[in-house]
Amino acid sequence: MSPEYYLILAAMLFCIGAVGVLVRRNSIVVFMCVELMLNAGNLTLVTFARTTGTIDGQVMAFFVMAVAAAEVVIGLAIIMAIYRSRRSASVDDANLLKA
């Protein structure tokens, strides 16, 4: 099967994720969109590993997964903490870090 389908799928997933991050306000949704983008990247890595017949891309994908797992833990903890203090999960409400 041609790798192009996989690459096109990955690109579509990435775009959906990116648009989601940019347009959605709910931080949980934004977070899920970030995961979507990460997994689009993973899909690309695995696809190229398959086409070139090497395992470099697969190893990289594992690293991405491990980092993503850690990031989920920290990200959710931050979201929880912000929700507790501000009673809101909207990313636009957490805007204190500005000039």
């Binding site: 991050v21 940019l22 347009v23 934004v30 636009d92 805007n95 870090l97 000039a99």
Partner: protein, 633 residues
């Protein structure tokens, strides 16, 4: 010329270092022990200088038993770089011996006097610590076996002089005078340093023996430079023209300091330096002429200004400037006159120390007033001070048979013996100086002790305690007798250093000079007596231009102000302006630019996460697009 060698020290002479160590130890103990030493500190100071005097007498006796009349002592190596080696070496020869006796002997008397003079002062222990420090430094200066050691002592006496002039440092005038003395000396010390560099460059050594033996091989220009540089250094330390202005201001210090440092010992260091380097100075007639010119000019300068001053200590200070001018004149004339210069230095040490201590005694009686216009009639209340001051007065003006007669007249005769028109000029200057000396000293003496009482109402004069009059009496006796006793033994004693010289024959015979000098001295003294026996005005009267000029120190301060202070201020103001506008401008401009830019960039920080995400995304898109363009091409 014979090669100069110095024999190594043996026996008691190997203890020469202890001469320096004793007062240095005293100073160290007094400074380190702090307040605990307040009760007995001054006696320790007197004790160490007394022990040093006893040792100096012993060393003197041992030296007179030696054939070669010199003792050289290498203590340790100070500097060793490549071929250059400078040792901490000491040289005890007839010249340093007489200086050691003067410093420790007169120093001992002044130390004893100071016990009484400083009795009321809270800082007496510190005073004696500095006094001992000065004695140690001065002994290093005269005992040093090479120019470097002399320079170490030279700088150390400058430090001690600064500390003691500014001893009452809470008084602004004293603090300023201390700084002025220190800075003026520093300027002149550059001459000493450059002279040492010249020696190292031309001869590769600063040892006395090495320099003197190699001196003949120097080119004329090198010996000229060396002589003039040493002369500049000597002028600074000895308050000679053009560096004379610091010495009268140094009178802000306690009176014993003025007596010991600024009359008897430290200010004669310049004469010592020239006498010690007599081989260098004898090489080049131009250098000798320069020394003679400085001496003749300064002796007149000091005497003229001395006539116009109303402060008892300042008159004596200008008198010191003038008398050291005589010594410079003598050592500049060279030949047999070197010994005359040293002789006058010794006699001056006695009578000027006595006069200064006498003035201290008068100030003690008059509530620390120094204005001679407010004295008068003191001879009745202060008989001892009066008698000793009288001795100093007859000694300094040079009446027969007191010491000035035996030491100053030969210098005047030697000045007349200089060849050609220079003999008439220098001799005439020396003669005029003698007349002026008689005038201002008589004026000082008469206004202080005779005539009507012009005291302010709150003073009740009284004689000083025995601890102060005792040294005064000894110094007074020295002033009376020293000249007659010393004149031939000292000249003979110094022969190994300066060599044998026949008495010069010049324009006038010695007898004629003596008669003329005595005549002008009596004339000057009589004129002053006639003018001032009835007292003087308590405020200065408007006077003709010579008096006004003399009151203004003959423009010495104006020259300093115009040549050094004003350009110095301009330079300082200019660098302040450059710093404020230029350097600060660049620094401040840079920081303003960075600050402004960052304030503008701050607008991008909106606080909205999604806008950040958008900028990251667009950045990533741009990077990827750029990569694709590059890769595809």
């Amino acid at each position: 010329m014979d090669t100069i060698t110095y024999a190594p020290a043996s026996g008691l002479l190997a203890w020469t270092w202890a001469l320096i160590a004793l007062p240095a130890l005293g100073a160290a103990i007094l400074l380190l022990a702090g307040r605990r030493a307040d009760k007995w500190g001054h006696w320790l100071g007197v004790g160490t200088i007394g022990a040093a005097f006893a040792l100096a007498v012993g060393l003197f006796a041992s030296l007179s038993g030696l054939d070669n009349k010199s003792a050289h002592l290498d203590l340790f190596t100070l500097i060793a770089i490549g071929d250059l080696q400078i040792d901490a070496s000491l040289l005890f020869d007839p010249l340093s011996a007489v200086f050691c006796l003067l410093i420790t002997g007169v120093g001992l008397l002044i130390h004893i006097y100071a016990v009484g003079y400083m009795a009321e002062d809270a800082g007496r222990r510190k005073f004696f610590a500095y006094f001992n420090l000065f004695a140690a430094a001065m002994l290093v200066l005269v005992l040093g076996g090479n120019y470097f050691m002399t320079f170490v002592g030279w700088e150390a006496v400058g430090l001690a002089s600064y500390l003691l002039i500014a001893f009452w440092q809470l008084k602004p005038a004293a603090a300023t005078a201390g700084k002025k003395a220190f800075l003026t000396n520093r300027v002149a010390d550059v001459g000493f340093l450059l002279a040492m560099f010249t020696m190292l460059g031309a001869l590769g050594t600063v040892d006395f023996a090495g320099v003197f033996n190699g001196a003949e091989s120097l080119s004329t220009s090198t010996s000229l430079a060396l002589g003039l540089l040493l002369l500049a250094a000597a002028c600074g330390k000895s308050g000679q023209w053009p560096f004379q202005t610091w010495l009268p201001d140094a009178m802000e210090g306690p009176t014993p300091v003025s007596a010991l440092i600024h009359a008897a010992t430290m200010v004669t260091a310049g004469v010592y330096l020239i006498a010690r380097s007599h081989i260098i100075f004898s090489l080049n007639p131009n250098v000798q002429t320069a020394v003679v010119a400085v001496g003749a000019l300064t002796l007149l300068f000091g005497a003229i200004v001395g006539c116009a001053k109303d402060d008892i200590k300042r008159v004596l200070a200008w008198s010191t400037v003038s008398q050291i001018g005589y010594m410079f004149l003598a050592v500049g004339l060279g030949g047999g006159a070197f010994a005359l210069g040293i002789l006058h230095l010794l006699a001056h040490g006695f009578f000027k120390a006595g006069l200064f201590l006498g003035s201290g005694s008068v100030m003690h009686a008059m509530n620390d007033q120094t204005d001679i216009r407010r004295f008068g009639g003191l001879w009745r209340v202060m008989p001892w001070t009066y008698a000793t001051f009288l001795a100093g007065w007859v000694a300094i003006i040079g009446l027969f048979p007191f010491s000035g007669y035996f030491t100053k007249d030969p210098i005047i005769a030697a000045a007349f013996a200089r060849e050609g028109w220079q003999g008439w000029v220098t001799g005439g200057a020396a003669l005029l100086g003698a007349a002026l000396t008689a005038f201002y000293m008589t004026r000082l003496f008469v206004l202080t002790f005779h005539g009507p009482k012009r005291w302010t109402e709150d003073v009740h004069p009284h004689e000083s305690p025995a601890i102060m009059t005792g040294p005064l009496v000894l110094l007074g006796l020295g002033s009376l007798g020293a000249g007659a006793l010393m004149v031939s033994p000292v000249t003979e004693w110094l022969t190994p250093v300066f060599g044998e010289h026949a008495e010069p024959h010049g324009h006038l015979s010695h007898m004629q000079v003596t008669v003329i000098t005595t005549a002008v001295v009596v004339l000057g003294a009589a004129l002053a007596w006639f003018l001032f026996r009835g007292g003087t005005d308590e405020v200065p009267r408007a006077a003709a231009w010579p008096v006004r000029a003399a009151r203004a120190d003959l423009g010495g301060e104006a020259v300093n102000r115009g040549v050094f202070e004003r350009p110095g201020r301009l330079a300082a103001n200019a660098s302040v302006a450059i710093d404020a506008r230029g350097v600060d401008g660049v620094v401040n401009g840079l920081s303003a630019a960075v600050g402004g830019t960052s304030r503008r960039l701050l607008a991008l920080q909106t606080g909205f996460v999604r806008s950040y995400a958008l900028s990251i995304l667009s950045g990533a898109v741009i990077v990827v697009a750029a990569l694709m363009v590059v890769v595809i091409q």
